[in-house]
Structure formats: structure tokens, C-alpha cells
């Protein structure tokens, strides 16, 4: 029995396209969107275009996606798996819902579930790992809801907005995804 591995209940994962550039550029220059991400410097149109171009063929090495709504095909964010290791069957996960109208309706959770299921079922990963900064409680709650556990706390690992922040390392193993 097969199912669509690029699709959740609310969203679908697709490749980033050049037309996505204006929205992605706006979001990744919006501090409200990037405050809990590793983004620190402004991003140019040129580097955003180059990133989209580099990510145009998802593969085991890096699978970066655009996130769009199933209902009306609207681009609402980006998510991906990177820093993969074939022997350890591990990957890092990153996600940003850029469109603030979609911040509280289960879109982040659905995107996370779809991407993790893709990682396990299509890429044959064993472990998916992500960083979440102290203070980003909403994201942490989403990650915990779908099965991620805090594996470690890297004390003062990141400096942003004038202070050092602890970084929670969260991990999800094969078989632990809840509601996939």
C-alpha cells in the first residue's frame, strides 16, 4: 500500500522554485521569523536565488523543500534535512514557517510529521536531530508532540541579541514518530 510521501494532512513538500524567491527573501530577512534560527545577517536576493538553485535537486545529501498548503497551493515556508551521514543514517532538520497567518493552525506540526516520515520512509534514516534555542517554547512543544526528545542541552552555545542562549539538541529515532 503506497501513500504520497510528499504530503501531510494540510501541506505538501515540493522543490523550491525560482518564483519562490521574493517570499523566501522577505521571510529570511524578517527578524520575527529568524529570531530562533541560526540566521544572523541580512540575506541578499542573489544569495537567496543561489540557495534555491543549489537546492533544486533534493538528494540524500540535502533535501530542502518548499512547504505549500494543500488547500490552495500557497507557499508558507521551507523545511529540509541536511548534514546527512549514510553510515549513521542520521540527518539534521531545519524548518521555518514564514507566513505568520499559518503559525498557529497545525501547519508546523503537519510539516514536521511529513518531513520526518519522508526522512524515515523514503531516505531510510535512523535518527533525525534538530537544534532549538531556549525560549522557543512553541517550536519545542511541536517537536515534543510528534515524538522528539531533548537529548542534550548545549549550554550557552549560541550568541544572539546580546546574550548567550542554551541550545536544546532534540532527537527522533526510527519508530518514534507520533501520528505519522
Amino acid at each position: 500500500m503506497s501513500y504520497n510521501p510528499w504530503q501531510g494532512q494540510l501541506i505538501r513538500l515540493r522543490v523550491r522554485e525560482p518564483e519562490d524567491e521574493p517570499l523566501l527573501h522577505r521571510w529570511f530577512n524578517d527578524v520575527e521569523v529568524t529570531q530562533h534560527l541560526s540566521v544572523r545577517y541580512p540575506v541578499s536576493h542573489r544569495s537567496e536565488r543561489a540557495f534555491i538553485e543549489r537546492m533544486s535537486s533534493p538528494s540524500f545529501a540535502t533535501s530542502e523543500f518548499a512547504v505549500e498548503t494543500l488547500a490552495d497551493g500557497r507557499l508558507i515556508g521551507g523545511a529540509g534535512l541536511f548534514d546527512t551521514n549514510p553510515e549513521n543514517r542520521s540527518a539534521m532538520l531545519g524548518i521555518a514557517i514564514g507566513d505568520k497567518n499559518y503559525w498557529n493552525g497545525g501547519y508546523g506540526t503537519d510539516t514536521m510529521r511529513a518531513l520526518c516520515r519522508f526522512g524515515f520512509d523514503m531516505m531510510n534514516l535512523h535518527r533525525i536531530q534538530l537544534d532549538v534555542y531556549d525560549g522557543n517554547d512553541r517550536a519545542r512543544h511541536v517537536y515534543e508532540k510528534i515524538g522528539f526528545r531533548v537529548d542534550a542541552v548545549r549550554r550557552q552555545a549560541v550568541y544572539k541579541f546580546g546574550r548567550y542562549v542554551d541550545v536544546y539538541v532534540m532527537g527522533l529515532l526510527e519508530g518514534e514518530l507520533i501520528g505519522g
Binding site: 553510515e87 526528545r149 537529548d151 542534550a152 548545549r154 550557552q156 550568541y159
Partner: protein
């Protein structure tokens, strides 16, 4: 003023092309590399390239540790992937000469490289991962002040099974 690169028993120095035969032996010795991320045999050419990457710099501060007495190289180490904004760096260390794995050499190397990280490179945090089946190393890291920050479950596949990685961190002011 004492050199920050000198401990009680060892000093840290830059890699040299003349370290080739030594590095080639260490990196292909399973007894040595079982404790590090290394997985495949390495050629002389790979090692030569690595050695020729040159002098320690912020992004890759790699050193050879040698004894103060007799100038004998016993291991290699490095501070990698430094982020200047976060002032955070990853540390890797391996002692290639088995007879120097006890006797306080590892501890002395760790103290010295951590002091370099804080006092020379002006870092705020040093982190490392170590296999849960390497208690000798974990003891050394604890002794110099590293805190247990968590366990990366199944973080490494090796020798036919999954292993946990122990994540440890040392902040400025915590070095003992």
C-alpha cells in the same frame, strides 16, 4: 611569561610534513581510531594533504602534542568549526602512542588546549562528543571541568551496532 602551548608534560605545536609516517601509523591503527569518528583506512596522500593544510588558524586549530621531555610526538588534536559570533568550538583529540594513554598526558593535553581556547582564541565554550564506551576519556574530560550535557541516542553506528554519543561542554571559567 610561560608559553600557553606548554603544559606540565607536553607542548602543542603545528603539524609538519615530517609527521607523515607517524600520522599514517596512528590513523590506520584500530586501537587508536576506535575511539574517534574515523571509519575507513587512510592513504599516505590523504595524511600528507591533511598535514600540509598548515598552521593552526581560528577555523581549524590543529596541533601535534609532544612530550616536553624528549620532544616525542604522542597524539594529535584540534579545535574545529569555530563560530566567532557564538565563540564556541568543537574539540577532537587522540593519543596515538599507546604507552602515553595513562600517566596524565591526556589530562595535561586537554588542560593545555582548553587554556589556548580561552586565553589565546578568546572562546566562551568548548564542546565534544565521546562514545559511551570510552570511560577513560570521559573521566579525563570530567577532571578538567567538562559537564555532561546529554546523550545523543544512537548517534553513531560502528562495529555492527548503534552507540550513544555523550555530549560534553566546558564554559569559560569552568576549566579545572
Amino acid at each position: 611569561m610561560k608559553s600557553p602551548y606548554e603544559g606540565d608534560r607536553i607542548r602543542l605545536r603545528a603539524r609538519e610534513s615530517t609527521d607523515l609516517e607517524l600520522m599514517y601509523r596512528w590513523i590506520n591503527d584500530w586501537e587508536t581510531v576506535q575511539y574517534i569518528a574515523s571509519r575507513y583506512p587512510r592513504s599516505r596522500k590523504d595524511e600528507q594533504d591533511w598535514l600540509e593544510k598548515g598552521d593552526p588558524v581560528y577555523g581549524e586549530a590543529a596541533f601535534i602534542a609532544e612530550t616536553l621531555e624528549g620532544d616525542r610526538p604522542i597524539g594529535w588534536l584540534g579545535l574545529h568549526y569555530g563560530s566567532p559570533e557564538d565563540r564556541c568550538v568543537g574539540l577532537g583529540i587522540s593519543i596515538g602512542e599507546a604507552e602515553f594513554r595513562d600517566g596524565g598526558y591526556g589530562t595535561d593535553i586537554m588542560r593545555t588546549v582548553c587554556r589556548v581556547a580561552f586565553d589565546v582564541m578568546n572562546l566562551n565554550r568548548i564542546e565534544l562528543t565521546v562514545y559511551d564506551w570510552n570511560p577513560r576519556a570521559i573521566r579525563v574530560y570530567e577532571k578538567v571541568g567538562f559537564q555532561h550535557e546529554g546523550i545523543l541516542r544512537d548517534g553513531m553506528f560502528r562495529a555492527g551496532k548503534w552507540h550513544n554519543l555523550v555530549l560534553m561542554g566546558l564554559l569559560r571559567g569552568e576549566l579545572k
